[in-house]
Amino acid sequence: MSAVPPIVELRGVTKRFGSLQALAGVDLELHAGRILGLVGPNGAGKTTLFSVLCGFLRADSGTVRVAGNLVDTAHPPARGVVGLLPQDAAFRAHMPVGRQLTHYAELAGMDRAAAEADARAALERVGLAGSWKSRPRSLSHGMGKRVAIAQAILGDPRLVILDEPTAGLDPHAARELKAVLRVLREGRTIIVSSHNLSEIEDLCHEVAILHRGAIVRHDSVVGLVGSAAEIGLRLALPPTDAQIRAIEGLALVVQVRWDPSAERLRVHFDPTKQRADVACRDLVAHLVAQQIPFVEIQIGKSLEERFIEETGAPS
């Protein structure tokens, strides 16, 4: 436990919309400098949680603290502490991008010159310096997302919340955006939600799984995906019985199982006797020696597999 108070602290937070229990007692802590991935099925309560965290929605019960201060609709987080990329908010269609960003920075307390400089710097960081005079309606969906991220980092907030930053983007735009996020994450505290679990695995230090309005698992990425004493192999061809038996004969191996739904060979070992990296090395050596072609190897389970285990449903 760190002695420094967490930048985000939620205790028993509930929120109901009519008959829908959107949040059902959420407890969550996040310390400065960490990148948290928030994952959950559609309707799990991710956006509601962000809305409560930003003071847009009032929690029915429980406490929300950001940077040590209690937050609700009457008392939003202190100015400049939180930057948000909302999932479904739109820019004003007819105002130039640069002018809108300058306005947001002015509202955060900067004078006009400083606000304009900050807005230009933010646009440059997301690779859109040339879009200063563009109208939002003239931008592609991916460029719009990047402008929204520029908006979220104006004034260098202590906490940045990104609600599904790559949702709806084509693979090229998503890749460009991930490159932007990799640069932006340095030295920041970020909470990012996404349905793209490999993206979360790639970008985050910790993962919280939100299911039916509650956090069902919160752990480091390594803790979540690497805790299983298992190596997953994607082979070029389904293995023969003889190949499986040969792998079962290795000293480190406890059990070998072919998983046809995931098209993976699951090799279980005893982690108390063998480190995962060593077990992986020995297994690869065996596959090479036996000329068994493989295209992918993974220590532990993927986040997607862990997610499905925890939530009992595909994302």
Binding site: F56, H75, R92
Partner: protein, 282 residues
Amino acid sequence: MHHSMSFRAIRVVAAYEVERLARSPHGGAVLLLFVSLYGWAAYSLRRIVDSVPGGSGVDLDSDFAKAVASFVGGAVELSPDALTDTFRDHPPLLVAVFALSLMLTPLLAILLSSDQTATDIRTRHLRFLLLRTDRLSLYLGRAVGTLGAFAIAQALATAAVVLALSPSRVGGADGALYLLRGYANVLLLAVPCIALMAALSALTAHAARALMLAMAIWVVLAIAVASTGTDFEFLRFGFPTAGKYRALSDHLGDLAPLLGFQLAYAALALGLGFVAFRRRDL
């Protein structure tokens, strides 16, 4: 520390709102309507002026003038004496410009101010703003900015009408002062109209619905007052246009109650609207 209402934030929001209205198709359309209506007014007045040789030449003490003052005064809620004094003490052309402005202001102010917070609530654009400022500064800033945009448009329209009629007919410094007083009265009439639209905008979260609702209230109350007689005349105070032509009078007995009503209406509408805006889940 949490952020609370600040005059600086209101100023920033208001300045941006003026710019936003100037750049938006909606603001452009209302400006076009300003130009069209005041252009038509200037053209009509010019024709009247050109058709009267040697100035007005009307004897305001004649029985005919008194009968007209009695008829018109009743329609605009002014005593015949107040109306006669107005025409006696000020250039009739400027009185006409002033009256026309009072007639057009509610419609133009309502059209201009129908989208103060509505679209931003509907599109969740407010989420970009509310982490940086408080709801009250935002709500008041939008209303102040809309009033600023209206004030600019009204000043341009008034100047254009005076130019069209020829500045020599304004009547020197006294006429200019009267124009200024008329301009101030028109802005005061715009205040409760904009306040009403601030409330309807926040309540409906839809600019077109806010506009339709305002028009519906206006029409329904007018019909109700006309059809129910004096017992329900108080209903006309449900809309900010009540007693608006009293602003033409120079008598304090006409002006003070009007000013009181307009400010009270604006405060009530803004207050109720803010309660709705503050309670909204955004």
